[in-house]
């Protein structure tokens, strides 16, 4: 009996378990998934928690519910991976040997990386919304907040879901309009990148969103420290941005397990071939989702496309055949723009988001790079799709792992 071990039962790990249990012979392969936690969070929903659009119960379910029958779940913290002996050692001392290892341990916020972020002002005037706790603390703050300087801030790239901070800014604008206090709120978007939209076509198409919503932008800002007492963030060049309420996206880092096992880069991400998803650690170790260092977005849709391609490659690897370099960096994301509308973007390593129709060329019904109510409903409907289609690895009709160029305006 051969052994396949998956580390992490989040979006990517669960999807891999669901795919592989359908493809591998039960008499030949034992599949085990390891995760220390009990709760599976629908992370895209964290964006909506601070505004009371989603309730906590909308975004959490039990991990066990989504582990497919036939896959063994071990609830235990992982101590380290010994790649030389093909063994995973758990914190309780258990040793799991494997023939194939799949890493799907994700990425986490690391607010301790910036001086002054964690401390007396954390969850008082400084918040994140990339964690369940942070999103709820921010919700409680926003319920009573009377206005002032709201700063939305990205510490450094890469981050999980790179568009979420922008979405937060747009939704905040709508939220304060609906509360009748938008004139008392000054919104500033602070980013280490050279603009809110860095790709040329997106900048041309979307700059109006910031202008229309009266959101100021401070680009090229790399935070050196946060001065909570005086309410300001300070960059390495000495520039200061004052705040009354700071919503920050802390540094994102891969799991410390990678560092303990000596297989991560300086952000604890796993060096991985960007097209085959085989790691550069060892040929029988593969990785997908947010834990890799591939230059794709860290987002659920990316993990979804990767899972389909990695499943094919695992089967090829088992047969001793050459892997297919089929992952093209494809991402497909709804972007909330407020007032019940959203955008849709579709892009990959090679092509930036462009306008056009999706998923059917010329028909849609969804518009790319254009705001619509249908896109917003698409985003809200996605929660159902996530729980019922994505995690059990049911094929989404008309959406291919590789990006389709049909119906898009590349000119």
């Amino acid at each position: 009996m051969k052994k396949l071990v998956i580390l992490g039962a989040g979006t990517a790990g669960t999807m891999m378990a669901s795919h592989l249990i359908k493809k591998l012979k039960k008499s030949d392969w034992e599949i085990t998934i390891v995760d220390q936690y009990k709760t599976h969070y629908y992370q895209p929903g964290f964006l909506f928690l601070p505004f009371d659009t989603y309730k906590p119960e909308d975004v959490k379910k039990s991990i066990d519910e989504f582990i497919p029958k036939g896959v063994k779940l071990i609830r235990e913290k992982i101590d380290f991976i010994d790649k030389d002996s093909d063994t995973v050692v758990l914190e309780n001392g258990t040793k799991l040997t494997y023939d194939i290892l799949i890493l799907a341990t994700g990425t986490k916020t690391a607010p301790g990386e910036v001086q002054g972020m964690l401390g007396d002002y954390w969850y008082k005037t400084i918040f994140d919304f990339y964690t369940f706790e942070g999103a709820l603390a921010l919700r409680d703050k926003l319920r009573d907040w009377k206005g002032g300087k709201l700063v939305i801030h990205i510490t450094e790239m890469p981050i999980k879901c790179p568009v979420a901070p922008l979405e937060f800014a747009f939704l905040a604008d709508t939220f304060f309009i609906n509360k009748g206090i938008r004139d008392k709120v000054d919104i500033t978007y602070v980013t280490p990148l050279s603009g809110a939209f860095t790709k040329e076509k997106c900048t041309t198409a979307l700059t109006y969103l910031l202008k229309d919503k009266n959101i100021k932008i401070v680009p090229d800002f790399a935070v050196e420290h946060i001065d909570g007492e005086n309410g300001k963030i300070v960059d390495y060049g000495g520039e200061e941005v004052p705040f009354d309420l700071l919503v920050t996206i802390p540094t994102n880092m891969g799991d410390d397990l990678m560092s303990r096992s000596g297989i991560g880069d300086d952000m604890n991400y796993v060096p991985t071939d960007k097209n085959t998803l085989q790691t550069k650690v060892k040929e029988n170790i593969f990785a997908l989702g947010d834990c890799t260092n591939v230059p794709a977005s860290k987002a659920g849709s990316v993990a979804h496309f990767q899972a389909e391609i990695l499943t094919e490659n695992i089967l090829l690897y088992i047969e001793g055949k050459e892997l297919k370099p089929d992952f093209d960096g494809h991402a497909n994301c709804f972007i909330e723009t407020g007032h019940g509308k959203a955008l849709l973007i579709d892009f990959n390593y090679e092509y930036e988001p462009v306008s056009g129709k999706f998923p059917f060329a010329g028909i849609g019904p969804l518009n790319l790079l254009t705001e619509s109510r249908l896109n917003h409903w698409g985003k809200l409907a996605f929660r159902w799709v996530y729980w019922n289609m994505l995690l059990p690895a049911r094929k989404l009709p008309f959406i291919t792992p590789k990006m389709s160029k049909a119906g898009k305006n590349f000119d």
Binding site: E156, M157, P158, P162, V163, L166, P192, L193, S194, F197, T198, K199, E200, C202, L206, D220, A222, E224, Y236, G237, T251, D265, D266, M267, P271, K274, N293, P295, S297, A331, I335, I345, F347, E352, P353
Partner: protein, 103 residues
């Protein structure tokens, strides 16, 4: 697209980043430096550029934190060497692609 730096024609993308690292030389870096407001290049500048090129050849994604841990400079020094655009400007001067971001 093509551009002439230090008397040599090189291929660049729309934002002026070299598309072929093999065409790079130190004189090109000096000229790009002037374009972005860095008028004097020290040995330290070139050490950083060589590190970035090395990372690029190894296909390692670049981050400011990564450069800060390179042992060549810390983050504060990187900002002093390449003010207002440490990764953006240093990548351009190193002849490698602009670091990626989402939209």
């Amino acid at each position: 697209m093509e551009k002439v730096y230090a008397g040599q024609t090189v291929s660049v993308d729309k934002e002026g980043y070299l598309t072929d690292l093999a065409q790079w030389n130190k004189d090109i870096a000096i000229e790009i430096g002037k374009e972005v407001g860095i008028n004097e290049l020290t040995d330290k500048h070139f050490e950083v550029l060589a590190y970035l090129q090395d990372q690029q050849r190894k296909e390692v994604a670049l981050s400011i934190r990564g450069v800060g841990k390179s042992g060549i400079v810390d983050i504060k020094q990187l900002y002093e060497l390449f003010p207002k655009g440490p990764l953006k400007f240093s990548s351009k001067m190193a002849g490698i692609p602009k670091p990626k971001s989402c939209i």
